[in-house]
């Protein structure tokens, strides 16, 4: 006996196996991200008044990435539709764009990460706080390009306190009380930001690998078993749309609100 319904649909459920499988998997993904979103909510409402960062991320970059993902989503579904009408070339084109979008997304995301890791908050012994990008660090001093603030709160709500000023500040090591970059340990916002977007980026990379495979070597299946291949594109597409969908929420809650 062979396993039934690997390609054609089972009459009473109307599904082929992989489609049932992917939706179940997505259900579990909903719970995975759901737990992280709950954590986000609790950390946010639990943060002391005025100490939840606003406007820390680069909105233009985030917007571009949103557009990139939306574009990749439509090309995915177009690629599948192309296969449905037997237009393999059109599939190749659309799916190629999807792959490209995935790479652009990851590229932009890495740049954003890099930017955060080189962004420092320096607490001086005299109580002042310097904040900006690291230019140079030696044994005796650090140089950043940024600004001084009196109160830590000013660093938080950047909607209210716009971050003007890009002076070059050099601080002697012995004046420094604490040096902290905007990595995950900076505060709970950065922690949840890196965790959520990191996990999301892993999904993007995983998806890109699958899409790349199906675009390249995997597409040979088209000639042997077109229906199965079309199904595979549908399945990977469903996953990809889900990844897009998560981003649709991540973008406003992390970048905008």
């Amino acid at each position: 006996m062979d396993i039934p319904y690997t390609v054609d649909t089972r009459p009473d459920t109307g599904l082929y196996n992989a489609k049932a499988g992917i939706w179940l998997f997505l259900a579990s993904e909903v719970m995975l991200f759901g737990a992280l979103f709950s954590a986000y909510i609790l950390l946010r409402v639990g943060a002391p008044e005025g100490l939840w960062p606003l406007g820390w991320l680069n909105v233009p970059l985030g917007t571009i990435n949103t557009l990139v993902l939306i574009t990749s989503s439509i090309t995915t579904v177009m690629a599948w539709a192309a296969l449905k009408v037997n237009q393999f070339d059109r599939f190749k084109l659309f799916h190629g764009i999807t792959l490209l979008c995935a790479l652009i997304f990851v590229g932009i995301k890495s740049f954003e990460y890099y930017d955060k890791f080189t962004h420092y908050e320096v607490t001086l012994k005299d109580g002042r706080i310097a904040d900006g990008h690291l230019k140079e660090a030696t044994d005796t001093h650090v140089t950043i390009s940024g600004r001084f603030v009196e109160e830590r709160e000013e660093l938080y709500d950047l909607h209210k306190h716009k971050a003007h000023g890009h002076e070059t500040i050099t601080i002697a090591r012995e004046d420094i009380e604490k040096l902290s970059n905007y990595g995950p340990r900076h505060n709970t916002y950065m922690a949840i930001y890196f965790t959520l977007t990191g996990l999301h980026a892993l999904h993007v990379i995983g998806g890109a690998i699958v899409i790349g495979y199906l675009w390249g070597p995997g597409s040979r299946l088209w000639r042997k078993d077109p229906e199965r291949f079309t199904n595979r594109i549908e399945i990977s597409g469903l996953f990809w749309h889900f990844v897009d969908l998560v981003w649709i929420f991540l973008f406003p809650i992390l970048y905008l609100l």
Binding site: L15, W23, L42, V45, I74, V85, N86, F249
Partner: protein
């Protein structure tokens, strides 16, 4: 089915996908724009942002993922998931709002 018929069908679908695509672009633009409008109450910004995100998510799930016209079985699976998702979110957050009086939580 003839090739021509196929193409017609395809065109029909593509038009719909493109429509959704434009709607998503528009949604993104609105979210970004709205976030720069300083409402008196920041909660309003948040609410609006989430409503738009929800709409976009609905479009992606409904049309790109074809949920609008999916099978009963998948609705059933997702109904459970939504129930538990809401349970997780709501009950956890609720628990943080019901402590004995005078409890300090931070």
């Amino acid at each position: 089915m003839s090739e021509k018929h196929h193409d017609e069908h395809f065109g029909h679908h593509v038009r719909r996908y493109l429509l959704v695509f434009y709607a998503l672009l528009l949604g993104t633009a609105i979210t970004v724009a709205v976030s720069y409008v300083p409402f008196t109450n920041h909660a309003l910004n948040i609410g609006l942002g989430l409503v738009i995100a929800g709409t976009k998510a609905f479009l992606v799930a409904g049309y790109f993922m074809h949920l609008i016209s999916e099978r009963k079985m998948i609705y059933a699976i997702l109904a459970f998931t939504v129930f538990f998702f809401v349970g997780l979110m709501f009950l956890t957050v609720w628990s943080f709002y019901d402590f004995p009086p005078l409890t300090i939580t931070r």
